[in-house]
């Protein structure tokens, strides 16, 4: 199939970027979106043009490395998949495809489609864990966890930290990412002792990183490759208020 690409090119964080047009006429519908970009890059290198830089690693939708805005949508048109799991069969022959990096103040562009998402690391650093040491624990079955709680916690814990939530949000809010970790740990008995401090510290860190506030639009959950439900944010907000009033 044939494809007209408009891709954001930016040499480094300091220079101004711009869209450049490229066309491909031998795209296979069974290629993944990133394999299509690989294919484009091989062509560019042979033509003496610098290839388009983008992040990717596992290509199974679990590492969270990849992610671009495709025709205005984070991770493209298919619901519930990361960019690496999007296949070209979901595009029409001859289509124009606009590709941009994540757009959020807290995710500065490194080069072309590559951004720096270390802000997410710092949100976890602020409290996204159970402060337990290595070793010296009771038998794993000593603390029972109701199956429905464990399953729900797992659902939140599947967040891959890709940044699509913030990129899709008109406010560039990282609420879904932050809330997913908070909700995962709040549902587990091991997460209880630090529940209040965790929500306050993580939410404050999120604000400090320059992410916007949540105004209940829901683009985050719609763009999320793991389909983390919006209720995570509701419970984070309620936990935050309760914790700040204590």
């Amino acid at each position: 199939m044939k494809l007209n690409l408009e891709i954001w090119r930016q040499k480094n964080p300091k220079t101004q970027g711009e869209f450049k047009k490229y066309s491909l006429d031998d795209v296979s519908p069974n290629m993944s979106f990133l394999e299509m970009l690989d294919h484009l890059n091989e062509k560019l290198i042979r033509d003496g043009i610098e290839p388009v830089e983008f992040d990717s690693d596992c290509r199974e939708g679990i590492c969270g490395s990849c992610g671009v805005i495709i025709n205005g949508q984070a991770h493209g048109p298919k619901v519930g998949v990361a960019t690496c799991q999007l296949y070209m069969r979901h595009f029409e022959d001859g289509a124009t495809v606009v590709v941009e990096p994540w757009r959020a103040k807290a995710f500065p562009v490194v080069k072309d489609l590559v951004v720096n998402r270390s802000a997410y690391d710092r949100i976890i650093q602020a409290g996204g864990y159970v402060s337990t040491k290595t070793g010296g624990h009771p038998d794993a079955n000593a603390i029972l966890v109701p199956k429905q709680d464990a399953d729900k916690a797992f659902e939140y814990a599947t967040c891959i930290g890709c940044g699509a939530c913030a990129a899709a949000c008109p406010n560039a809010s990282a609420s879904l990412f932050t809330a997913a970790k908070i909700s995962h740990l709040s549902l587990m008995p091991q997460g209880q002792p630090e529940k209040d401090a965790r929500v306050v510290n993580m939410v404050n860190q999120m604000d400090m990183e320059g992410f916007g506030n949540c105004s209940n639009i829901g683009e985050c959950s719609a763009a999320c490759p793991k389909q983390i439900p919006l209720e995570a944010i509701a419970s984070m907000k309620s936990d935050y208020i309760k914790a700040s009033l204590k």
Binding site: S28, L34, R46, C63, Q85, Y87, V110, S118, A140, I160
Partner: protein
């Protein structure tokens, strides 16, 4: 080269406790004066960094990704083994130990494997305490499932995303230490050389992948947790950035490389579909709990719709050949059997290089919702990639490279042949012999990082005279100059070269898959060694690298890794050629039983092959660590 395993004396089950009681300890107040570099943030690296930071050491953690959470451990699907015996089905530390030794075809070190089985139970307690959301029963207790090569149910899991959940647990523990100021993160840094001073590992040289800056880092000990080198096959289930560079550069500085040819080919992957493909996707081994593997009995049925093939015309070949383990034979056995039926012309799918993994009977027995609950994400992934619905038609699967059992040689303390340089997780060779059992990689990574290295590295630091060094030392300057010379050399060729890095890389992969893959012959291996020499010469004349070295430049990164693969491939072929026996995943066509099973030669090859580097165009020297089995009787491996 001294290959003293330093396995403690005494009865097997007391070795580790005895050793723990005997190792030297660094005074708590002194730990903060010792810096440890940990390269890699997968299960082994993150758990080591977290545990060492917590003990009070000053830890510097490095990863090639933008965040520690992206390491490839995240992609592990099926589960983690532990000898908890929660299923009351006869499991024990000894049984896990025995299964692992036998699964590895008697090519691993007894003392290390027993320790692994012992600490396996602590890992589950550790992860549960971190709030890892494991799968649970309605009682609230942890759930188990079965994996290949065992007859008990000892695998703990979190749907098909166990690696993700365990890695996030370790990553979060590490981030807690970052918050405490005990661990300092260096993201997007690639280790390009090891710095040795007075014969000891004292630092590393890295390239900042965002800016291209070359940096020096000093420490009292260095830990490599940089994973395996399966990406040398180009197509594998490994992530795009997985590579051998850190361990290979350490090998070039004198660390012995053990059993490089021991590669795991995983039986259940989605088959190759086109020449543009960048990687292969694994379908977890856990699927073999409920899925049945078969091909048509008759060649002429191969192109038929599988649902139209009657039961009596199907050959459930694993159940037929191995009635006691059935579909749950170990990976090497299952992969070889799949290759054999495809070689007979009974493979399915367009290429004829696939077999069916069928859930029809499981869906009939348990209902679709139950199957969805266990494997939903895997089924969805399969559906998305192949455009076929596995709830309705059987999956098509074929073996693919998945893991490397070989790696840097380490002693019982996880130290390489270079004093101070340690290797943990997939980067070392120690626990899986010639074939790793499913759900044991996660176990080993976390065992090394949480429960072994924190003891043994302290022993090294406490018992070694470590002079103060800074990055101004001439050895740092020399190593940095070497790194700069390599990069400048590549860029100089790269500006004029005509062939892309990826073209060379694909050639490396094809050569490896065809000759150093699922079956190996003397002729093929000898040719491969020569072909690598030729391809290397061409690479250094004609590789094309765009851009500049002082900026983000993925092609330059890949060129450096492919340069190392071009040497490692030859080393793997040499090792496979020298090991004139079949064992585990290493199958020499000349060495097989009448039934086509691997034929070991314990008289000649009951040893670890450890290779010493002698130069890019000079043959490496082989050293042997003899394996002695005190508790286990060497037996022909049978799963019948």
């Amino acid at each position: 080269m001294n290959l003293d395993s330093k396995s403690p004396s005494g009865p097997l089950e007391q070795k580790w406790s005895k050793h723990k009681g005997e190792v030297k300890i660094v005074n708590p107040a002194n730990k903060r004066h010792h810096r440890i570099i940990v390269v890699g943030t997968g299960l082994a690296g993150a758990s080591a960094a977290a545990s060492l930071g917590e003990l009070g050491y000053e830890v510097h953690s490095f990863c090639i990704h933008e965040s520690g959470r992206r390491a490839h451990s995240i992609a592990a699907q099926g589960g983690i083994n532990a000898a908890k015996n929660y299923s009351n089905d006869g499991d024990s530390v000894y049984r896990l130990f025995y299964d692992t030794i036998k699964g590895g075809d008697f090519r691993s070190r007894e003392a290390n494997v027993h320790r692994l089985a012992e600490v396996s139970v602590n890992i589950i307690d550790q992860c549960a305490a971190q709030g890892v959301p494991f799968a649970r029963e309605y009682s609230g207790e942890l759930a188990n499932r079965s994996f290949g090569g065992t007859q008990v149910s000892r695998t703990f899991y979190a749907r098909g995303q166990t690696g993700q959940q365990l890695l996030l647990g370790a990553y979060q523990a590490m981030m807690r230490q970052v918050n405490e100021g005990r661990v300092k993160l260096f993201a997007r840094r690639e280790m390009l050389d090891l710095v040795m001073i007075n014969g000891k590992a004292r630092g590393i040289i890295t390239r900042n992948l965002e800016t291209g800056a070359i940096e020096r880092h000093s420490a009292d000990a260095v830990v490599l947790a940089t994973g395996g080198y399966g990406r040398i096959f180009y197509l594998s289930t490994n992530a795009m950035n997985s590579n051998c560079t850190a361990i290979f550069r350490a090998y070039k500085r004198g660390a012995a490389f053990a059993n490089p040819c021991f590669t795991q080919i995983h039986p259940t992957c989605i088959p190759v579909s086109g020449g543009y493909q960048s990687k292969l996707t694994l379908m977890s081994e856990s699927l073999r709990n409920d899925g049945r593997v078969w091909v048509p009995k008759k060649k002429e049925d191969c192109k038929k719709n599988p649902n139209d093939i009657a039961d009596e015309d199907r050959d459930y070949y694993l159940e037929r050949r191995y009635p006691s383990f059935g579909n749950l034979v170990p990976r090497d056995v299952a992969s070889r059997a799949a290759k054999q039926v495809c070689d007979e012309g009974r493979g399915v799918g367009e290429s004829g290089l696939a077999v069916y993994l069928d859930f029809r009977d499981a869906i009939k027995r348990d209902g679709e919702p139950k199957v969805r609950e266990k494997y939903g994400n895997l089924f969805d992934m399969y559906h998305e990639i192949t455009d076929e619905n596995p709830y309705q038609v059987p999956m098509r699967i074929y073996p693919a490279v998945h893991y490397t059992m070989g790696g840097l040689w380490v002693d019982y303390n996880l130290m390489t042949t270079i004093p101070g340089l340690h290797a943990v997780g997939e980067a070392n060779f120690s626990d899986h012999g010639a074939n790793r059992l499913g759900a044991s990689a996660l176990m080993q990574g976390l065992a090394d990082g949480y429960f072994v290295l924190p003891y043994t590295i302290g022993h090294y630091i406490a018992s070694t005279k470590l002079d103060k060094v800074t990055t101004d030392a001439p050895e740092f300057a020399a190593a940095e100059a070497d790194v700069r010379a390599q990069i400048d050399g590549l860029m100089k060729i790269g500006s004029k070269g005509k062939k892309t890095v990826d073209e060379f890389y694909r050639e490396v992969g094809t050569m490896m898959w065809d000759n150093v893959g699922m079956s190996r012959t003397t002729k093929g291996l000898e040719e491969t060694i020569k072909n690598f020499q030729k391809l290397r010469a061409e690479f250094y004349e004609n590789v094309r690298i765009p851009g500049e070295s002082g900026e983000f430049n993925k092609q330059l990164e890949m060129a450096g890794r492919v340069a190392d693969f071009l040497e490692l491939g030859e080393l793997m072929a040499r090792d496979a050629l020298e090991r004139n026996e079949s064992c585990g995943g290493h199958f020499r066509e000349e060495m097989q039983t009448d039934e086509g099973e691997a034929k070991r030669d314990d008289d000649q090859f009951c040893h670890v092959s450890a290779w010493e580097y002698k130069g890019r165009e000079t043959a490496p020297v082989l050293h042997k660590e003899k394996l002695s089995f005190e508790s286990i009787h060497l037996a022909q491996r049978s799963y019948k």
